[in-house]
């Protein structure tokens, strides 16, 4: 990758509030100290962006590229490689349901249906009209013995059945 940041002569004309300013910039700087190269800090830097913005836009990727001396395409390549970076806005609560075979056998599909209904999200990946919920299905969450596991934001909830869903959703209102 390029040795240093490219000049900013094609800075976009639309107004853009950088992510890395103030406190977040400080966080990034302390982060950079932990890696031998700036490129090494790409994944955590993207996490910072996602934490601040909820998702990572093309423009954010360009900012990350400029800050770390990478090319925008490289950053985009990394963002699109990992499923855990959001390339679109997601609801305030982000729900991940395991639908891999063992959980599937134990009724994960029904859990998904119940979640969609309780949250008002129209389909997997879509955000509910009130902007609060996005549900996606994911591969094995490593809790096959406690089907069906659901990850709501950073909370790991085991043994979810369709019946438990309405209460669960209420807790996050």
């Amino acid at each position: 990758m390029s040795a240093s940041a490219r000049p900013t002569h094609d800075a976009a004309t639309e107004p853009y509030q950088p992510v890395f300013a103030g406190k977040v910039l400080e966080e990034l700087q302390s982060l950079l100290g932990r890696y031998p190269t700036k490129q090494g800090a790409l994944l955590p830097a993207l996490w910072l962006v996602q934490r601040q913005r909820g998702w990572i836009s093309d423009r954010d990727m360009t900012e990350v590229a400029a800050v770390l001396g990478l090319t925008p395409a490289y950053v985009k390549g990394v963002v699109t490689f990992y499923t855990m970076y959001h390339q679109h806005p997601v609801g305030q609560n982000f729900v991940q349901v395991c639908t891999t075979s063992p959980c599937n056998i134990c009724g994960a599909e029904d859990v998904v249906r119940a979640l969609l209904q309780a949250t008002g999200a129209k389909e997997l990946g879509a955000t509910s009209p009130d902007g609060r919920w996005t549900v996606i299905e994911v591969e094995c969450l490593g809790a096959c013995g406690f089907a069906t596991p659901v990850l709501i934001n950073d909370d790991f909830i085991e043994s979810v059945s369709p019946e438990k869903v309405p209460d669960l959703v209420k807790r996050y209102r």
Partner: protein, 984 residues
Amino acid sequence: MTRLVINGRSITAQPDQTILEAARAAGIDDIPTLCWYPKLPVVGNCRICLVSVEGQPKLLPACATQVADGMVVQAESHAAVENRRGVLRLLLERYPGDHLINGGRARPRNEFERYVVRYGVVPTPPGGRDLPLRHGDERPGDSMIRHDMSTCVLCTRCVRACEDIQVVGVLDVGQRGEHTEIIVGADGDPDKAGCTWCGECVRVCPTGAIFEVMPQQRFAPERIRHPDRVVRSVCPYCGVGCQVDLHVADNTVLRVTSPDIELDTPNQGSTCVKGRFGYDFPQHRDRLTKPLIRKGWVKEGGRWTWRGPTGRERRGGPWQTIEGEGQNAKPAGPPRSVGKSLRELSLLERLDLDIRDRGATPASWYEPFREASWDEALELTTQELLRIKGARGGDALACFSSAKCSNEENYVLMRLFRGALGTNNIDHCTRLCHSTSVAAMQRALNTSAASGSMREVEHAADVIFIAGANTTESHPVFGAAIKRAQQRGATLVVADPRRTELAGRADVHLQMQPGTDVALFTAMLNHIVARGFEDKPFIAARTTGFDAVRQSVRALTPEVAAKITGVPAELIRRAAEIYAKGPKTSTLWAMGLTQHANGTDLVASLLNLMLACGMIGRWGAAMMPVRGQNNVQGASDVGAIPFVYTDYRSVKDPKIRAEYAHVWGVPAESLSLKEGLMVTEIVKHESGVRGMYIMGENPIISDPDIAHAEHWFRELEFLAVHDLFLTETARYADVVLPGSSFAEKTGTFVNTERRIQLAREAATPPGDARYDLQILIELSNRLGLKTAHTTAQDVMREIVRVTPSWAGVTYERLDGAGLQYPVPTAAHPGTAFLFDQRFPTTDGKAIFVPVEYGPPVELPDDAYPFVMNTGRQLYHWHTGTMTRRATGLDQREPTAIMEINPADAAALGIEEGDLARVTSRRNSLVISCRISDRVARGQVFVPFHFREAAANLLTNPVLDPYAKMAELKCCAVRIEPAAVPAVR
């Protein structure tokens, strides 16, 4: 040496070679490859090159497996072939290859399809495929490069070509699994991702998923794949001198490709956007195909007489002057980042203009002219040149030769001016280019050209010091080589008032006030001397006069220089130490240094720094003035300058004069011993010049203080212009002679590293237009200087007779990569770098010339608070005669813009695209603003390509005392929002 057997043949290889490299080196070049490409990093991801190696359980990738002693390789074993079939079959699952199911197999369309046919793989019929095709042409439509990703086989060559050869990094691989695709920047917009439209990706793509648009718009696919011929030529733009292959059909250049990457040409397979996409201007409908004579000239009693209006109207026409056009309202220019699809630029529709017409010749310009026969045009030209010579002497005539024309053409033109008209008033745009470098190098080293080669900068320099050169835009292919050098570990130090791309990438950027370079270099030398870092043995053995310089730099400490230049003293010290410690530092400079009224001093102070550190005469320590035009070096070498004949041999020396008189068959006395006038001196009332012949130059846009120049040309008694188009200058001519473009001639060109290269004719001139050389030879004969030559090769035979350093040059020897002069004998291999033993001065030593810092002529003050800098853009070329008629290029930068710092713009209440009035002590113009932090506060940058807002209206015609260079780079201006709104 490693010995191995491939396909039953015993071969030897270097131990670090791969099986593929060893095979190719031994002439076994049919191991198939997709992801591998010469000079690109090896990724080994396509698996088509797998071969059987005896004793190995698995097939091994030939491109990524190192050779070993005793290895026995079968490239086409049963297992290998079966594997290849499998690879191809899988790729075909997502490839629109229906035409390969039956009839189309006889005509594979690309590298990938050739493998499909070669290995007898037949695609699954449509309907039977598991995966859908990738999306097709989903990329934003562009006039130069488009993507059709349905044919992509994910070899990632394009990604690596962009990242590792061009060092731009627009492309990458996105998504994963079956969704994997090639992505453009973060948002699909190549311009925003910094794409320079070089087309390197097009060149390497094995399937045509990334392709050129222009050929397809004009020719059928089969025609493009099978042109009538492919002719090796030289790019008509900058001094890098890229060799290009012109594909010709129907007497038209349909496409330009670059020669093999492994050939040792200056460009090593690359080109920039101008070379690859700027080839269509010769076919522009403005092209002159008949000679023109100004109405008013009539032939009476065997003589041409002027019967037209006199006085102000004598050269008038129904057009606005450049000064007048400067005041008009303009379209709001696009910010660079959206400079992509033209159709999206609403401003152009509003203007109600055909996009191709903005830089083109308005119909009204033709009105004062009538079409004429060659006989009439040449007769009138001959009559008038001879009349003025008879009435006022040869020195009342002058000629601008052309750095865009071949050595042969320049030679014949200077020969006819000297030999037939008896004047040395012959010059060309070198005056506005590197004349100051030549003056300074002549004083210090008695040389006029670069000491080294671009290759040595790329591969051997430890430090690259670049002063006043925006290499990635003005010499992009060399710029990419510099970026590659930085990636291999070279340190980059850039001195430039603007934050250019290289400045942005540099390890140290010295962002000084324009015109204060002497202070900067002197302070660097001051620090070096203070610390004792100078190269004492080199100074003692190879130079004279250092003591005077040591004295003269004493007062200018980095602290003092910091005040003058605005560069922190600490940075100056750091740059000085990096420069001096090398161990091999290459020194590059261009117009940022030379285009000043003290340009000679600026270059001299840089040469002092270079000599004090001994950074010349070793491989890797090159002195490189980066030459502007593709033949500015050659035009000077063959004597199209006022003081010298070929090889810089003085016109004042009667002995030398006798030699040329003899070869040309004229009496010695007919050649003038008086040095002639230079470009900038000719265009002055006191010059006494009354008649001119201008070949391929457009001084009304390129000369400083245009309003004055335009007026001056109107006052001439006779003006003949020899060009492709009716340019801003040609519209004032009496006679316009339609010549030939770069594709329509055979001739030689010299690049910035003294490399003489041969360009070959690809097409014939259109209509009645003639070969430039033919025009000049006939004119020469008519003027009474017998010129028996018929071909460029004949002319070259004469040139080498009078040019000792070219004595060994023949057209046959120029095949391939050409020859770097000096080539003193027929057996001499040419000279890649100079001065390892001695300098060509009388005592063989370089001469230090003390330089005093003087401020630029115009400093900003209350009335004119900004400093205006001028220069080139990536997509345009000089006065725009060619590039504004090249569709793809013109669309990227369609209008004149001025770069201004965001803070200054805000203070003035100017927003992106707004029009501003820029006023200098000479004149004023209205121009659209592009807000950019490339320029520092207090400075603005105006490219000089645009007739409608010509930067040179404002520039200062004050001249360098030695080289008569004008102060083009730096003048004080005032900026205010324009009273007229921009057309949006």
